[in-house]
């Protein structure tokens, strides 16, 4: 008992937010390092417009990565985030353009479809005991095909829905503070991240998300209906993918049914670069955001430097390894 007061002990919540930030300071440092490096290498890099371009480029992948974070903390994996995003975008297109419904209904449809599909994956995993990799791989293929089927393999344009492109491209902040023309897409990313962080840190659902990843059997034997909570996590992640679908559709002012494959690996990479362990039980949304930013800065910077495409790939691979290595070194020291 006397020991109890020797160290100030962070709670789960403060671990997520305060010390989370504290802990990530060095992952953050490698982000800063990249930013500084590119600024020196190219005078064009560090402009407001380019910084906003980078944030904008983070928005879709960032939202997907937040969804993936939730699932990965439970010890699962979600390969369907990319095609689910597309599927939700297509659904929004059908509802808004083909059926001519009002905008809020389209938004609801996209997010609802996402949650429903997530619930499906969750059911496969929790009830049918299919390994998450397979269940979400199957969903990835099913959704990819269905997007093509219901759209008739054609993009659906949102020209008849005025304001739809403002979801991602408009700037509420810019309207208030003209010097800070941060697009709504980025705002939405931060809102989604904050909400996810809150859910993870403060709610029962969040606590079970961590507990499931830590020791599912122990949670079950504590009398918790683990199946239900797991399904809830996948549904929540699916709903977030629905938001990503709205973001990408709004940016392209169209639902492109063939898009989305390959986005899952990028999202998972952002999560893991952000320090979340693939074996579950630990992770932070803030880390994921930084991970997604590292990827976006890297891609943008190399392009601004006009590095040849093939070398861009090589350098990206090497820097991802180095960034995570630096993080490992730091953790070892701490």
């Amino acid at each position: 008992m006397s020991l109890a007061r020797t160290t100030p002990a962070p709670s789960i919540f403060s671990r997520l937010i305060d010390t989370g930030a504290h802990q990530k300071l060095l992952a953050f440092a490698s982000l800063i390092l990249l930013l500084v490096g590119f600024s020196i290498a190219s005078p064009n890099f560090m402009q407001t417009s380019n910084m906003i371009a980078i944030l904008q480029a983070t928005s879709v992948n960032g939202v997907l990565a937040v969804a993936a974070t939730l699932v990965i903390i439970t010890g699962g994996i979600d390969l369907s985030v990319g095609t689910l995003m597309t599927f939700c975008a297509v659904i929004a297109g059908i509802v808004l353009t083909n059926l001519g419904m009002p905008l809020p209904l389209g938004i609801l449809a996209a997010v609802g479809t996402g949650a429903l599909c997530g619930l499906c994956s969750g059911t496969f995993i929790a009830k049918m005991k299919i390994p998450p990799f397979i269940a979400t791989l199957g969903m990835m293929l099913i959704l990819k095909g269905l997007s093509l089927v219901i759209s008739g393999t054609r993009p659906i344009y949102f020209n008849d829905t005025p304001g739809f492109d403002q979801i991602s491209r408009g700037s509420l902040i810019g309207d208030l503070i003209p010097a800070l023309p941060i697009p709504n897409g980025v705002l939405i990313l931060f809102l989604v991240a904050a909400a996810a962080s809150y859910i993870l840190g403060r709610t029962v659902l969040g606590r079970y998300t961590f507990a499931l990843g830590s020791n599912e059997e122990a949670v079950r034997l504590s009398g918790v209906n683990t199946d239900r909570w797991k399904m809830a996590v996948y549904a929540l992640a699916g709903g977030i993918c629905g938001i990503a679908g709205l973001l990408i559709a709004s940016r392209l002012n169209s639902a492109q049914p063939a898009l989305g494959l390959g986005y899952e690996l990028e999202a998972i990479a952002a999560v893991v670069i952000g320090g979340t362990s693939l074996s579950g039980g630990r992770g932070t949304v803030l880390g994921t955001l930084i991970g997604a930013l590292i990827m976006a800065v890297l891609t943008n910077g190399l392009r601004v430097l006009s590095v040849a495409q093939e070398w861009q790939t090589v350098v990206t691979g090497a820097i991802i390894i180095l960034a995570v290595y630096a993080d490992m070194m730091r953790k070892k020291k701490a």
Binding site: N50, R251, S306
Partner: protein, 289 residues
């Protein structure tokens, strides 16, 4: 038995390939034959295309339409088709072999050279331009990129192509690529996007960055590209005749199967279109939404 012609294409989901499919479907309806249309997810999957070709051969087709991702890789299967007496018609790009009886395609290099000429004309023969290409290794990607670059180099010494970057034909990636190019080159005069996804990405990137007075030349059509040309965001674009390619391929395949003589090369042509001629019936006929 029924006349059955499978078409093995280079892609499936892109609107260009869907337009080829539409043409093929039209021909099938006109000629009363059955077709199927398949292609791999992206233009790097050479071996997957080979698997598709062998599955098509298993169905004992009357004739085959084939757009080779790599012309050499398919040769053993094409030989197999020849031995089985199944005529092969190449489309989109040729096959380095004498097995295909006919090739229905566009001269991509010449089409891209036309884009270069238009670009030069619109920026006044001098200045920096960039290329957002869809692929670094596929035949169409290489032909369009090099057709454009070679023409600029040969004829317009005052134009500098500052960078060629690749967005994989993905609308969103091409958008980000364009924005990075604009950041690095504030004095850019024009960008050439080498397929539909790239061209739309360029338009998106330019409008998101708020850049004015930039000459954008695109490739292929599609609703968004047509809208951009009508609104003046895009100066103009090259269009092939994908519907024609699909139609001619099926037609040639059916004729070859009936033992008729088919022309060895069917050039389906290409056009430059802009705000002035976009509604011209001749142009409108080869555009797709």
């Amino acid at each position: 038995a029924d006349t059955y012609v499978p078409l093995i294409s280079k892609g499936f989901q892109h609107q260009f390939w869907q337009a080829v499919k539409a043409g093929a479907d039209q021909a099938a309806a006109d000629l009363g034959v059955t077709i199927t249309f398949e292609g791999p997810d992206n233009e790097t999957m050479v071996d997957r295309q080979i698997d598709m070709l062998s599955a098509a051969l298993a169905k004992k087709p009357t004739a085959i339409g084939f757009a080779a991702l790599d012309s050499q890789a398919a040769i053993p299967l094409l030989k197999q088709a020849k031995e089985a007496g199944i005529p092969v018609i190449a489309f989109d790009s040729g096959v380095d072999s004498d097995i295909p009886l006919a090739t229905a395609s566009t001269d991509n290099a010449a089409a891209a050279a036309l884009a270069a000429d238009k670009m030069a004309e619109l920026i006044g023969g001098a200045g920096k331009v960039a290329v957002v290409a869809h692929d670094q290794t596929s035949r169409t990607g290489i032909d369009r990129r090099d057709g454009f670059l070679n023409q600029i180099q040969a004829k317009y010494p005052n134009i500098e192509v500052v960078t060629v970057q690749y967005g994989g034909g993905d609308h969103l990636k091409s958008t980000e690529v364009t924005k990075a190019i604009l950041t690095a080159n504030p004095d850019l005069k024009g960008i050439f996007g080498t397929n539909e996804g790239s061209a739309i990405g360029v338009v998106n990137g330019v409008s998101e960055m708020g850049t004015k007075d930039l000459v954008i030349i695109g490739y292929d059509s599609g609703k968004a590209q047509k809208d951009a040309i009508r609104s003046g965001l895009m100066a103009g674009a090259i269009t092939q005749n994908p519907v024609g390619i699909g139609y001619e391929t099926v037609k040639a395949a059916v004729e070859a199967a009936q033992g008729k003589q088919v022309p060895s090369h069917i050039d389906t042509g290409f056009y430059y279109y802009d705000n002035s001629n976009i509604d011209d019936p001749k142009i409108a006929a080869v555009l797709y939404d």
